[in-house]
């Protein structure tokens, strides 16, 4: 059985490093905070390797099926009727895979940042934030309780916020961090309500119990959840769709994606860690976690997921073709790839060979983490060199940055789905699942994968070729600390595809072999090569062709370049509707009407007081008159009106 202390240490080492660096980073660990953080994470990484070995090869299986183990469960906050938030650790194939991914990528980023962030004034703060993020992300993937996952969900959100806004002097960074937090918060609103709905109908917050109750066909909980409906949609579907909304926000799915490109304001290693490899796939992870319920009891929601996924994949790929900020291109490409993972889940069935989509999605998550982190770190190295994010400042860098160039190329090939790089295998699985399930999705996905190859290579050529090599007066390529992660990741990106992923991860824990039909692969590979070729034609040398094409389709180009004006729509809604139509009136009403009423009551009293002062006229005869009136009035009242 798993060693609980080791399991607990995996997330808690980064937590400890966060606390220590946060409290003493400026004093005791002034110079060594980077090393301290990296070391603690390294231990954590080793422990997670140990754990995953243990899980996959020793105790994880029972009867040939990977079990969902919960070696630790502490009651944290108990509500009524068996509803309680537990702090637990769940071990199943996907969580074990995720801790591997998270610790590994995080370790790479830690190492990379040692050089990249050197000389920053808030170096230790940076590392403490990184540790916080790592802790939260590990907590998220290990959560055994849906509320626990929500808690860590929020924590990764806030660490993302802190890291995006790390350069807090830059107004654009501040704006981006706010945007990221608020948009995901909006999505979390859905998540929260979804949790409330699910917990109400399932009577539990525990994942295993929840899944068990909502998938076993005879259970009373499932029955009420399916039969109760609101606006014609069953409660179960509402709950799951709302939970998915949370996932969509965090994973930057259309239309909640607008924060991700802006999030690139953060330091590049952060983008690699959070906004490429780990946090943004939390949504995918969440859907995967609830996959049994979705697949068995709520196929409608799966369709929604497919739809959103495929739209996101396509739109993001289109936008990526037009962007000029290299990190933004990568951001859109991340979006697009997450779309792939999402719809792969959407088109997947549950159990056995039906679950190809599931396995492929997780596989893609895994490989994507490697090559996308690599791309970002490579881009970071480029940015480190030229001190700019803009393509126009780049070109012809292949001589200056040889290692970056090679690793970047490997990553591009992987993402473009060129065999035998890792991306090829995972994407192949996804396409296959889509093909079997829904041809329309397949065709769209196919087109998108072609586009992927195009825009990635556009990026590649634009950075490393395009112009003649220029002499930069800057320093060299960044040194060992920056190159080591690049190389390690490049190796991973190149060979990870050969992992027999289905043997570890499948929808129901049973063993699965991802089918491979080389005939099927012809179309995507050809398309990918076509994309690469056209990118080469347009961008290998500086020529006007690309501009000609864009001016030829200027309308469409503009639409895509401006990201389909989604940001503007949001801006309109928040500025014009929420601020002007709700916020301002609310504030105005409060000050003028409600408070006005309070003041009015005071003013009325005063006015009445002023008005009636004339009766105290100072004339003693008037007083006598009032006296008499009073007597007579009271007499009349008591004798004739009230009548005793």
């Amino acid at each position: 059985m798993p060693n609980v202390i080791i399991l607990v240490l995996i997330p808690f080492l980064p937590l400890a490093s966060f606390l220590i660096l946060g409290l003493f980073g400026k004093s005791i660990f002034r110079n060594t905070s980077g090393l301290a953080g990296t070391l603690s994470l390294f231990v954590s990484f080793l422990l997670s390797i140990y754990t995953s070995f243990g899980y996959f090869f020793e105790y994880g299986k029972a009867n040939g099926i990977y079990q969902k183990l919960v070696p630790l469960k502490l009651s944290w906050l108990e509500f009524s009727n068996g509803l309680s938030i537990d702090m637990g650790i769940i071990l199943d194939p996907i969580s074990v895979m995720m801790i591997m991914v998270v610790t590994f990528i995080s370790l790479m980023v830690h190492i990379y940042s040692l050089t990249y962030m050197k000389g920053e004034e808030r170096f230790s703060t940076y590392y403490s934030y990184l540790s916080l993020f790592t802790f939260s992300m590990l907590g998220l993937v290990l959560s055994s309780n849906i509320f626990q996952i929500y808690i860590f969900w929020e924590l990764v959100g806030v660490s993302s916020f802190l890291l995006i806004g790390f350069y807090y002097n830059k107004p654009s960074a501040v704006a981006a961090s706010k945007k990221a937090f608020i948009v995901t918060r909006f999505a979390d609103l859905g998540f929260l309500i979804g949790i409330l709905v699910l917990s109400f109908y399932s009577g539990t917050l525990d994942f295993n119990t929840l899944i068990q109750r909502l998938t076993s066909p005879g259970s009373g909980e499932l029955k009420t959840a399916v039969t109760t409906s609101f606006l014609g949609i069953s409660a179960l579907n509402w709950g799951l769709a709302l939970v998915f909304m949370g996932g969509a926000g965090k994973s930057a799915l259309f239309p909640l994606h607008i924060w991700l490109p802006d999030a690139m304001e953060g330091p590049t290693p952060v983008s690699a860690l959070i906004h490429a490899a780990t946090m943004v796939v939390a949504g995918v992870y969440l859907v995967a976690r609830l996959f049994p319920v979705l697949a068995l009891s709520a196929p409608e929601v799966l369709e929604l997921i497919t739809l959103v996924g495929v739209i996101t994949a396509l739109i993001a790929a289109l936008i990526a073709c037009t962007q000029t900020d290299i990190k933004r291109v990568l951001a859109y490409s991340t979006m697009s790839q997450i779309g792939f993972m999402m719809f792969a889940l959407g088109v997947s069935g549950y159990g056995g060979s039906n679950g190809i989509g599931f396995t492929a999605s997780m596989f893609h998550l895994f490989t994507h983490a490697l090559f996308k982190a690599l791309l970002f770190l490579g881009a970071g190295s480029v940015i480190h060199y030229v001190h700019s994010n803009e393509m126009k400042d780049m070109g012809g860098l292949k001589k200056h940055l040889p290692i970056t160039h090679i690793t970047f190329l490997i990553a591009c090939l992987a993402i473009a789905g060129v065999p035998p790089f890792s991306g090829f295998f995972s994407k192949e699985g996804i396409l296959l699942a889509a093909y079997e399930h829904n041809p329309a999705v397949f065709w769209l996905a196919l087109a998108t994968s072609g586009l992927t190859a195009y825009y990635m290579f556009r990026l590649y050529f634009r950075i490393f070729w395009y112009k003649a090599s220029q002499q930069h007066k800057h320093h060299g390529e960044g040194g060992f600390a920056m190159m080591l992660p690049l190389i390690l990741l490049a190796v991973g990106a190149a060979v990870a595809g050969f992992i027999p992923f289905g043997r570890f991860v499948s929808s129901d824990g049973s063993l699965l072999t991802l089918p491979f039909h080389w005939l099927f692969s012809i179309a995507p590979v050809t398309l990918g090569l076509l994309g690469i070729f056209s990118a080469m034609v347009l961008f290998k040398k500086e020529n006007g062709k690309a501009d000609q094409i864009s001016s030829f389709m200027s309308r469409v180009y503009k639409l895509v370049y401006h990201k389909f004006y989604v940001d503007e729509i949001y801006l309109f809604i928040t500025r014009k509707v929420l601020f002007s139509m709700v916020g301002r009136p609310a504030a105005w009403i409060d000050r003028n009407i409600i408070d006005g009423l309070v003041n009015l009551s005071g003013a009325t009293t005063k006015a009445v007081s002023e008005r009636i002062k004339v009766i105290q006229s100072g004339k003693v005869q008037h007083y006598g008159l009032y006296f008499l009136f009073g007597v007579i009035g009271l007499g009349v009242l008591l004798i004739y009106v009230i009548k005793f």
């Binding site: 006229s617 100072g618 004339k619 003693v620 005869q621 006598g624 008159l625 008499l628």
Partner: protein
């Protein structure tokens, strides 16, 4: 016709309202004081009438009347003293000149 209690009460009531009217309309403080005396006298008539016609065996009413007269005299004495003092400061005993305290 023998005058009965109603006649007397009529007189007293009339006297009461004459007094009240005088108190409300006269501007001279002394006259106002006299109007109050009229009110008191109407009460006296009441007491006497009730005593004579209704409760002839109890002398309360008559006694009360005597006391009222005595008190009225005392009251008038103090009031006139005050009015004299008022006259010193204002050179007038018109009630219109004593309306400074108001509101």
């Amino acid at each position: 016709m023998q005058p009965g209690i109603y006649h007397l009460l009529l007189i007293s009531t009339a006297l009461f309202f004459i007094g009240v009217y005088g108190f409300f309309t006269r501007r001279n403080l002394i006259t106002m004081l006299m109007s109050i005396e009229l009110i008191l006298n109407s009460v006296n008539i009441n007491f006497i009438a009730f005593n004579k016609y209704l409760w002839a065996n109890k002398l309360d009413g008559v006694l009360f009347t005597i006391f009222i007269m005595a008190i009225a005299a005392a009251e008038a004495a103090v009031a006139i003293a005050i009015i004299i003092n008022l006259y010193r400061s204002r050179q007038s005993i018109d009630v219109k000149h004593a309306e400074e305290l108001k509101w």
